[in-house]
């Protein structure tokens, strides 16, 4: 089972950090506390039972209809241990109003670009990142395209019956395609 090693290690060494564990399709995911993220990753990297030294990626999954029962974004981290030949998945949940997670660039040098990409496409802010700016899109781009409320194609056209389409993206009603509110 991929990821069980990391989950066991975290539960043993940082018992307060683990919120939930879930197994699916031969992989184990661990939901951890946002405040414990840096400590958890440092532990996974340095502990001889973990040695998760390689960052694989960080991304986020947007579930806009989930709030307020559960936070809107799943920030997903995948780490790899070459010594134990294992991959683990950590998930941190953040809300729409406070999409911040602490940066991991000082734990894994390679997280730098992946965090910038996640900020660029999903609008997750990585607090403490030395240079958090867009990486794939132009710097003056409006909105974060991989959010579910970002229209994927088509230019909105305003007619007399839908004048709100002429509004700039930031002023459009919240449930409207293209709205960045």
């Amino acid at each position: 089972m991929s990821g069980a090693r990391a989950a066991d290690l975290l539960e043993r060494e940082l018992p307060g950090a683990v919120r939930r564990r879930e197994v699916g399709f031969g992989e184990e995911s661990v939901w951890i506390d946002r405040d414990a993220l840096v400590a958890a990753c440092t532990l996974l990297r340095d502990h001889p039972d973990g040695v998760y030294t390689t960052p694989v990626f960080v991304t986020a999954v947007d579930w806009p209809d989930r709030e307020p029962a559960e936070p809107r974004f799943d920030v997903v981290y995948e780490l790899r241990s070459l010594v134990h030949n294992d991959t683990c998945r950590l998930i941190v949940q953040v809300t729409e109003d406070d999409p911040n997670v602490p940066t991991l660039e000082r734990v894994f040098a390679g997280m730098d670009w992946h965090e910038r990409e996640c900020y660029d496409l999903l609008g997750i802010t990585f607090t403490g990142h030395h240079d958090l700016k867009r990486i794939l899109l132009p710097t003056d781009w409006d909105g974060h395209p991989l959010r579910k409320d970002y229209a994927s194609f088509g230019e909105p056209i305003a007619f007399t019956h839908n004048l709100e389409w002429a509004l700039p993206a930031a002023e459009r009603p919240r449930d409207m395609p293209g709205s960045t509110r």
Binding site: V56, V76, G110
Partner: protein, 430 residues
């Protein structure tokens, strides 16, 4: 494969003149005075230089902002995104089979690997095992594609350093592999040959002739390539000791593939996490010693030979049988059933118009592409379209280590280092 040594010994002798290689620059007569560390101290002012995005050696549209002190690079800031196409967003409004052609266009030099990674991820969510013949054909096609990709890297990498003839020979041989792509799928590059549940179609008879010819002739052709470059003193002076990446740094930056193995770590997903029956074949994982440009060159040249070994074994043992799964959640009903069964007709219609339904859940499927770990993190919500598909591109992580590798090197050597990490900008930007 469990007990894989992360810091292993080289599995095969990489270089017949290894003593000379070990000694590195001294034996080659490169003076210490030329070492970058001394030059960094010259002068107080730096110059900012734009390299690219339209520069022949950046292999696409990559812009580097270089802070130069004389000819020495003090800082390098890559600027990417010129080829960003939003494929991940496109995935979310297409059915699973419709996503396959999009994956072709990400890493356009290794399209079959992208097909394979995506298909394997969906098949894992569906809990489908494709027939053995399809698995073997996937391996053969992927390894042929790996050789084609490495040949292109070899040709352009050598061209960047002024070896024009190598480029011609590499193109000559790559053409033979593209002919096989054309034969099985009708197109030379964006094949979409590997689909969810199996393959586009079984291979025609001529396939056996062409692949048999590749197995027979390519070892000699690779020898020919190596004779041109491997012991060439000019090439060695340019590359030995250049762009070093230590094993620890390679891991911390998430570098994978030949970039990681050049630094001496024998980690290959084909051995570490076998997929598509790679565990049926015996092959070695070549690794380098010091992680410089020359090591990465040697690793890739050896990998082509290892790929040929895999192709030979898979070709010999290629089983008979279907090339597509019989699982009706994915496979279309056979044509003759449609004449008699209304249910089959409805099912056929639903599969074509709506697409297959994939159980809800999340998987991360990684495969070893020519550039490293290509991963698909797929989240399904139980409908006919992916809810979210994150592509973990090997070139993206490898390129993020570039500033670390070129800091303190000469500007002319930046070209050699970019060539050695073998980036594809379509893969970086997606």
């Amino acid at each position: 494969m469990t007990a894989l040594p992360p810091f292993g010994k080289p599995t095969i002798d990489l270089d017949p003149v290894s003593e000379q290689y070990e000694a590195g620059r001294e034996q080659l007569g490169v003076e210490h005075g030329l070492d970058s560390v001394d030059l960094v101290q010259i002068g107080e002012s730096t110059m900012e230089l734009n390299m690219g995005p339209m520069h022949p050696s950046t292999h696409g549209v990559l812009r580097l902002v270089l802070d130069l002190d004389g000819e020495v690079v003090r800082e390098c800031r890559p600027d990417i995104g010129y080829l960003h196409t939003g494929f991940e967003k496109d995935f979310e409004r297409h059915t699973y089979q419709q996503c396959i052609p999009y994956t072709d266009r990400m890493d356009y030099l290794a399209p079959l690997f992208n097909n394979l990674g995506f298909s394997l991820a969906v098949e894992r969510l569906l809990a489908i095992e494709v027939p053995m013949r399809a698995q073997y054909l996937r391996v053969i096609m992927c390894e042929l594609c790996r050789i084609a990709s490495h040949l292109l890297w070899y040709g352009t990498g050598a061209l960047d350093l002024g070896a024009t003839s190598a480029f011609m020979y590499a193109w000559r041989d790559r053409e033979k592999l593209l002919d096989i792509n054309e034969l099985v799928s009708g197109v030379r590059m964006h094949t979409s040959f590997i689909r969810v549940g199996g393959l586009l179609a079984d291979v025609p008879d001529e396939f056996y002739v062409l692949v048999g010819e590749v197995i027979k002739t390519f070892p000699k052709l690779i020898d020919e390539h190596e004779r041109l470059i491997t012991k060439n003193p000019i090439f060695r002076q340019r590359t030995v000791g250049l762009g070093r990446l230590s094993a620890e740094d390679a891991m911390a930056y998430g570098a994978t593939g030949p970039t990681l193995r050049g630094s001496g770590i024998a980690y290959d997903l084909r051995k570490a996490k076998p997929y598509s029956s790679y565990d049926h074949f015996t092959f070695d994982v070549p690794i380098g010693r010091s992680g410089d440009v020359y090591d990465r060159y040697l690793v890739r040249m050896q990998e082509m030979r290892e790929s040929l070994k895999i192709i030979g074994q898979a070709f010999e043992a290629l089983p008979d049988g279907p090339v597509n799964t019989a699982d009706r959640r994915v496979a279309l009903p056979p044509r003759n059933e449609l004449n008699t069964s209304m249910e089959s007709l409805i099912h056929h219609f639903k599969l074509v118009t709506e697409g297959m339904r994939v159980p809800a859940g999340q998987v991360y499927q990684a495969i070893e592409s020519p550039r490293g770990e290509l991963g698909f993190y797929l989240v399904s919500d139980g409908t006919t379209r992916p809810y979210r598909c994150k592509v973990r591109a090997p070139s993206f992580s490898n390129l993020s280590a570039l500033p670390h590798m070129v800091r303190g090197e000469l500007i002319a050597d930046v070209v050699a280092v970019i060539g050695s990490i073998d980036i594809v900008l379509g893969d970086v930007d997606r």
